[in-house]
C-alpha cells in the first residue's frame, strides 16, 4: 500500500510539474508546442503498442489501446460513447472514414491542469491525440486523428477519426 501511495504521489507531482512546464512553453513556442507534444505522444503510442495484436476492427483496436494503457500504468480511462439518437458507436463519413466518440473521465492531464488553473485543450492534451495516432497506426495501420469536441471539468468528449 505504501508503495502504491508513493507511486501515486510521484505521478501526481510529476504531472503537476509537466502541466506547469507546458503552460510555460506554450506562450514562447506558440503552435510549435502542440506539434512537439503530438510527436512525443505518437512516439510513445508506437513504442507501447509495438507488440499489440493487429486488427481492422475499430472497437477491438480501442480495447487493445486500453489494455496497452493499463499495462503501462497510465491513468487514462476512456470509454466509447453513443448519443441516444445514434444507432451504432461507429459512424462513417461520406469519405469513408470511421468515427467514434470517446469520453475521457480519469485523465492525469486534466487532473494536473486544473490543480493549478491551467487551461485545457493545450499542448499536453495534444499528446493524447499523438498517443492514439501512434497506437492505432501500429494496430490498424491507418492514420488517425483525435479531435477534442468538448473539454469539461469532470470529463472530456473527443472524436476519433480513422482514415480510410
Amino acid at each position: 500500500m505504501d508503495e502504491i501511495l508513493k507511486k501515486r504521489r510521484t505521478l501526481q507531482e510529476t504531472m503537476n510539474f509537466m502541466a506547469a512546464l507546458s503552460a510555460g512553453i506554450e506562450p514562447i513556442l506558440g503552435r510549435g508546442a502542440n506539434s512537439m507534444t503530438m510527436s512525443a505522444g505518437r512516439n510513445l503510442g508506437r513504442k507501447f503498442s509495438a507488440g499489440a495484436k493487429p486488427t481492422q476492427d475499430l472497437m477491438e483496436a480501442i480495447d487493445e489501446v486500453r489494455n496497452i494503457l493499463v499495462a503501462n500504468n497510465c491513468l487514462w480511462g476512456f470509454e466509447p460513447f453513443k448519443p441516444q439518437q445514434q444507432n451504432d458507436f461507429i459512424t462513417s463519413t461520406p469519405e469513408g472514414d470511421q468515427q467514434l466518440l470517446l469520453v475521457f473521465r480519469d485523465c492525469m492531464i486534466r487532473q494536473a491542469l486544473l490543480r493549478f488553473g491551467h487551461l485545457q485543450q493545450g499542448s499536453l492534451c495534444n499528446m493524447m491525440y499523438g498517443f492514439f495516432a501512434g497506437a492505432l497506426e501500429s494496430i490498424m495501420g491507418r492514420k488517425t486523428t483525435l479531435e477534442i469536441k468538448h473539454a469539461g471539468e469532470n470529463s472530456c468528449l473527443k472524436l476519433l477519426t480513422v482514415k480510410k
Binding site: N16, V103, Q111, G152, E153
Partner: protein
C-alpha cells in the same frame, strides 16, 4: 444511473447550459422560458453546465467524480532544485 435536475425556480432561462452541453441534453421550453433536461442518457457528466450556470440551478447525482491532483509538500521540495 446518473441523474441530472434543473431547479425550476432558480433557472433564469439564459440558455448557457444549452450552449455548453456537447451532447445536447437540454432543451429550451418556450412556454416556461426555462431550460429542461431532455435526454439525460446523453449526459457524460462533464459538469460544464453545472459550472457555467449563473444560478447554480443544475445538479448531478450518481456520477463518477474525478478529483484533481493534490500538492505534496515533500515531493515539491525535492522538485524545487530543478526550478
Amino acid at each position: 444511473m446518473l441523474e441530472m435536475t434543473i431547479h425550476e425556480n432558480s433557472c433564469r432561462g439564459c440558455q448557457l447550459c444549452l450552449d455548453v452541453c456537447p451532447t445536447d441534453c437540454f432543451v429550451f421550453d418556450e412556454q416556461t422560458q426555462k431550460a429542461r433536461v431532455a435526454v439525460v442518457e446523453n449526459c457524460i457528466a462533464c459538469l460544464s453546465c453545472a459550472y457555467i450556470c449563473p444560478s447554480m440551478a443544475i445538479r448531478h447525482k450518481d456520477y463518477h467524480q474525478v478529483k484533481n491532483f493534490y500538492r505534496n509538500i515533500e515531493f515539491s521540495s525535492r522538485m524545487e532544485k530543478f526550478l
